[in-house]
Symmetry: none
Subunit: 95 residues, 2 copies
DNA sequence: GAACTAGGTCACTAGGTCAA
DNA sequence: TTGACCTAGTGACCTAGTTC
């Protein structure tokens, strides 16, 4: 998963700290805690919960299914957001 | 099923040891001791204690009341968890 | 004294709520 | 549909009491 995310300022993928704030592994927003197995923000927590509760099937990504999920655009593509949630390890059993 | 636990690691039902660790008879997690009459983990111990203290009536299982209780999903169905606690022999006076 | 467990504590999170 | 906020339930840890 978190393959060296090229320089940047530390990429959300590999990092979970920004100073002393824990960041959401999905979108990089401030994490509100450890949810479903990963540090996540309220938004991604709720999004993932809804996704598994209702077994939602999101409309496929219109681009290349590789949308870069960030706080500001996380609601742009549900398909890729859920994909990212799973990729970073979110699961019902908080594995 | 019972009987020969065929290879596997020996079904939680009949076994209490996994190597040299005693396992919780309810969920298979690591037991923290002998509680209410059976080897149980801190989680199931606390769950059972609360259940008998407050005489809680859990909402009936939405499935077939035969949920397979395991460490990762033990919080999924309280009804079946308590059922399992009783089934394996937990009781207030640690009979 | 050591070894043990019933019951208490409380930081933490899953899931619910509902205004936006 | 989202996500900030809320609450009830969970479980790791602690303490008091019991037994050897």
């Amino acid at each position: 998963m978190n393959t060296t995310t090229m320089g940047k300022e530390a990429s959300l993928d590999g990092l979970e700290f920004d100073g002393d704030t824990v960041l959401c592994r999905v979108c990089g927003d401030k994490a509100s805690g450890f949810h479903y197995g990963v540090h996540a923000c309220e938004g991604c927590k709720g999004f993932f919960r809804r996704s598994i509760q209702q077994k939602i099937q999101y409309r496929p990504c219109l681009k290349n299914q590789q949308c870069n999920i960030m706080r500001v655009n996380r609601n742009r593509c549900q398909y890729c957001r859920l994909k990212k949630c799973i990729a970073v390890g979110m699961s019902r059993d908080g594995t």
